[in-house]
């Protein structure tokens, strides 16, 4: 096997977990930029925020469902209830795999909280000014 193939296989093994780690925060970032960008546009033009708030509400629900699904997948990858290994601190491929699941799970929680926080102003503030 060439080096390239070896590294490609290593990446393929963990591709899913790497995507999981990235996607939680990426959903947070996309949601954030969409909220901010849409609000800037609408407040700079007609200032009609009712549809905007509804849109942000729907977008938030979609984002939260997406993150929750990622979190669930990551939780299963971490597999802590099965083997009770909280630390995943040995140099084996199983521990590496579960560690990446754990990290992705925790990031999903942070992203979930982040998205919830960012959507609160749209729930509470009903005007551009």
């Amino acid at each position: 096997m060439t080096n390239r193939q070896q590294e490609v296989r290593e990446f393929r093994d963990e591709a899913l977990s790497l995507w999981r780690i990235t996607f939680g925060p990426v959903i947070w970032a996309t949601h954030f930029v969409a909220c901010y960008g849409l609000t800037s546009l609408i407040c700079a033009t007609d200032g009609q925020v009712d549809e905007l708030r509804l849109g942000i509400g729907i977008g938030t629900l979609v984002a939260l469902v997406g993150i929750a699904w990622l979190g669930w997948q990551a939780w299963r990858q971490w597999d802590v209830l099965h083997n009770r290994d909280w630390e995943n601190d040995s140099g084996t491929s199983q521990d590496r795999h579960q560690f990446l699941g754990h990290a992705a799970f925790l990031l999903a929680i942070i992203s979930f909280i982040g998205v919830t926080y960012v959507s609160l102003p749209a729930l509470l503030i009903g005007t551009c000014q």
């Binding site: 609000t39 700079a44 926080y117």
Partner: protein, 854 residues
């Protein structure tokens, strides 16, 4: 065409078994290995010492220089405090006061906080990773010399009374209209240093991804390496918007292109966006690596593995992400819609969660361990106390109505100093005490250390705690004096006294650091009883990094892997010798750290100094509007870099394979994603694309923010020329990819032809793009100006792309680049992947978007 050849691959047993590791190494064998390594890694002596590029030398110079700049910035702060001690004081006039506070902030940020992180990481990261050196030592050295030249230039402007005086954030229009060369010094000098910072960030990311010892999978990496990756990534996405902003700003200052001038369609708020998209993550760029130092000290002090390793990794990554969503909290009073402010207020509160998790993990580790209040731990404890106080005022400031009340008052000054002193200065000093025995093989004084701590800790609180009140009582920031009737005199006097107590503490610390320690006995090897690899170092000092590169299977190998140090010392592990007297280190795979190849590491050289000097000229001459010498310097800088690459990197090796020990044989050359160079290009181009995206953001920002964008009846770029440019640059990219593929299959002549045509096509593309905007006058309105700016950006990059293609062509003609050894061509193709994207987006913005907007 020939059948495709492959580079050889690793052969032999891996991972090593316990039996293999238990085989003793003969005394003669050990001595031979040591002698060879000593010869390969010898530090140059006499005046040649300054041609050294090894991380242990460059890292120490870098740390000392950043520390010296900090002391100078600290003296400026003292002068500021003296001026503010009494009402109506005349110690400094307004002009000098403005220069001093601007330079205090700028120097602390750009000449101390960020470079200090990179300096410490260059010094320590290879040791954490059991690597011999960083992957690109000459790049570290180049970055260091750039930093030294740029730093002296920027700080030196104060001596000539020519320093910038519009504040470290350089808000236009104050800064764009400022007389003299101050803002140019700031913009060009600091852009130059930012380039060096990005170079170091690239090196550090590649170092922690690819230069870990065999077996050190991602789940057992030292936390410091995780933080380096996160912070390196943040630098890549945070600094480029500022570089893009600097680019626009300097075009306005030098050529009157009105990006920030509202009378001609510009908008000063764009600068604030670009500045704070950099400026807020910057706070975390400064904070995270210092917390990483704490993450290394705390387990040692507690004598047990860190609690919640995965939680800390998650917090570092999470903080890195969330910190990008906070920039507008510096802009709460610029009149943005309330709803928008709400998003940023909420995101600012959310970032507390991952930040808090890290602190709780440290506290938990200390609670379950057997803690001894050693000197490094004392500083960490002080850091936690101060940082938590700063974090609490941070939560207050994230609330919009409170923020409006204290905006631009001394409350902000108090808050930011609490976060930065607690989050950066204290942990870094803790790190100095903790790692001093590693890099100097001596210990600092326990007594002096405690004196320094209590002086700085007390002085700090005496200075900055009252400032919360001064701010709440209405004292604005950045005023050079105030009337007695304002009633701020007593509080300011207390702060000034405190500032001198801090200074006394630093004096003790500096004395301890620099005093002669000749009479101190030799220290034990691992004085703190740490568990990570850096404390397997040799005492007395050896320049080879690690005697042999170990196979690592746990997070704290010195605690958990029996006999590891003994075996490293005996040369039982990998690369225990250097038969050719060449500097080498092992490059491993990204996730599981399996050995991939042996990287030749470059040795001492003067060329890096020359390159840095000429690069400095290219940035410094334009400050004085001397463009001809700047261009000459730029050209010489390019020649120096090309010479350095040509003579030292990616040359076909003498032997294809190298016996690295324990029966394992590794190749000595790699190209494409295996190689460290490919990763470096990839990471650099991510940063470059971010800067470019910031310019495009500017275009759309003007479109949303300004009703007159584009202005009625404006001239647009010529569609035909834009189309020609897009076609030609796309062709260049296609030819480059073709050249890479046919070269790999042995079609060397065809590849050379493709490269030659690609160079011509690229030149044609650049010329077409320039021609498309020549009818527009960039000084009349921001619309033509941003079109020109996009054109200039792409044309300059195409220039670099043409040089790279020429370099590959020359490599092919002179035998440096063959069908087997094609790393250069792989890397250049990667560069063109990014460039063709930037070119096509530019063509869309120049050629199509105006039609859509109409």
């Amino acid at each position: 065409m020939n059948e495709r050849e492959h580079l050889p691959v690793a052969t032999g047993p891996y991972p090593p078994t316990e039996e293999m590791l238990a085989v003793p190494v003969s005394k003669e064998e050990q001595e031979r290995g040591k002698a060879e390594l000593r010869a390969a890694w010898k530090t140059p002596e006499g005046w040649r010492y300054f041609s050294a590029v090894n991380n242990t030398e460059v890292g120490v110079w870098y740390c000392l220089t950043a520390f010296a700049f900090m002391l100078i910035a600290g003296l400026l702060a003292l002068a500021i405090r003296v001026q503010l001690a009494f009402p109506d004081n005349t110690f400094l006039d307004a002009d000098r006061f403005n220069q001093f506070f601007t330079m205090h902030g700028s120097a602390m940020m750009f000449l101390f906080a960020v470079p200090m992180f990179e300096a410490i990481s260059i010094l320590l990261l290879p040791a954490f990773c059991g690597a011999r050196d960083m992957p690109f030592p000459r790049l570290s050295a180049f970055g260091y010399w750039c930093f030294l030249i740029g730093g002296c230039f920027v700080l030196g402007s104060l001596i000539f009374d020519a320093g910038p005086k519009a504040g470290w954030f350089m808000y236009p229009p104050l800064a764009t209209k400022e007389e003299g060369i101050g803002p140019d010094v700031w913009l060009l000098g600091l852009s130059f240093i930012e380039v060096a910072s990005i170079a170091a960030a690239v090196e550090l990311i590649v170092g922690s991804l690819k230069c870990r010892p065999p077996g050190m999978r991602v789940n057992i990496m030292p936390l410091y390496a995780w933080y380096v990756m996160v912070v390196g990534g943040m630098i890549l996405f945070a600094f480029p918007p500022l570089i893009a902003g600097d680019f626009l700003f300097e075009l306005e200052r030098s050529f009157d292109w009105p990006f920030f001038d509202p009378t001609r369609g510009g908008d000063p708020v764009l600068w604030q966006h670009l500045f704070w998209i950099f400026g807020h993550p910057e706070v975390y760029i400064v904070f995270l690596p210092s917390i990483a130092i704490a993450a290394m000290i705390v387990p040692t002090v507690a004598q047990r593995p860190i609690v919640g390793y995965s939680w800390i990794v998650l917090s570092a990554v999470g903080t890195g992400f969330l910190s990008f969503g906070l920039w507008v909290h510096h802009m709460f009073t610029t009149g943005l819609p309330q709803l928008s402010l709400g998003f940023f207020s909420a995101a600012s509160e959310a970032v507390v969660i991952p930040t808090g998790i890290q602190l709780f993990a440290f506290v938990a580790t200390l609670m379950v361990g057997r803690v001894k209040m050693s000197l490094p731990m004392l500083w960490i404890a002080g850091a936690l106390a101060i940082f938590v106080a700063g974090g609490l005022t941070g939560v207050m400031l994230a609330i919009v109505p409170f923020n409006w009340q204290v905006h631009d008052t001394y409350f902000i000054v108090a808050h930011l100093h609490y976060t930065l002193f607690g989050g950066m200065v204290f942990p870094v000093i803790a790190g100095v005490y903790y790692f001093y025995p590693f890099f100097r093989k001596k210990l600092l004084s326990e007594t002096l250390g405690r004196w320094a701590f209590w002086l700085i800790f007390t002085g700090f609180n005496v200075t900055f705690l009252p400032m919360h009140l001064t701010g709440l009582r209405g004292m604005p920031r950045r005023i050079f004096t105030y009337p007695e009737s304002a009633g701020w005199g007593t509080l300011n006097m207390i702060s000034t006294v405190g500032a001198f107590v801090i200074a006394a503490g630093f004096a003790v610390f500096v004395y301890d650091l620099l005093r002669s320690k000749k009479n101190q006995p030799q220290i034990p090897r691992n004085p703190w009883g740490a568990g990570t690899l850096e404390f397997s170092h040799d005492v007395p000092d050896e320049a080879w990094g690690v005697r042999s590169i170990p196979h690592v299977t746990s997070r704290y190998p010195l605690w958990e892997q029996d006999k590891i140090v003994e075996r490293m010392d005996a040369g039982r592990y990998y690369l225990p010798d250097a038969p050719d007297h060449q500097r080498e280190t092992i490059v491993t795979s990204v996730i599981d750290a399996k050995p991939v190849y042996v990287q030749r590491v470059t040795g001492p050289a003067w060329i890096t100094l020359w390159a840095a000097g000429f690069t400095g000229g290219a940035f410094i001459f334009p400050t004085f509007h001397m463009y001809a010498p700047a261009i000459v310097c730029g050209a010489f800088a390019i020649v120096c870099v090309l010479y350095w690459l040509w003579t030292a990197t990616a040359r076909p090796p003498k032997d294809q394979m190298r016996d690295v020990g324990l029966g394992l044989r590794l190749p000595t050359y790699a190209s494409g994603p295996d190689s460290v160079g490919w990763w470096a290009v990839w990471i650099t181009m991510l940063g470059d694309a971010t800067a470019y995206a910031s310019l495009v953001f500017g275009f759309f920002f003007y479109w949303t923010a300004r009703p007159d964008f584009p202005p009625e009846g404006a001239a647009h770029p010529t569609g035909l020329w834009v189309a020609c440019a897009a076609a030609a640059l796309f062709l260049t990219w296609a030819l480059t990819v073709t050249a890479r593929e046919v070269n790999r299959r042995g079609g060397v002549a065809l590849a050379r032809g493709a490269l030659l045509v690609a160079m011509a096509a690229a030149a044609g593309g650049a010329a077409s793009l320039a021609a498309s905007v020549t009818a527009l006058d960039p000084t009349t309105h921001v619309y033509p100006a941003i079109m020109w700016a996009l054109m200039v950006w792409v044309v300059v990059h195409v220039g670099a792309g043409v040089i790279m293609l020429g370099y590959c062509l020359a490599g092919s003609l002179f035998g440096k680049l063959t069908s087997l050894y094609d790393a250069d061509l792989q890397n250049v193709t990667l560069f063109w992947h990014f460039l063709v994207l930037e070119a096509l987006v530019t063509a869309t913005v120049l050629g199509l978007v105006p039609g859509w907007l109409a």
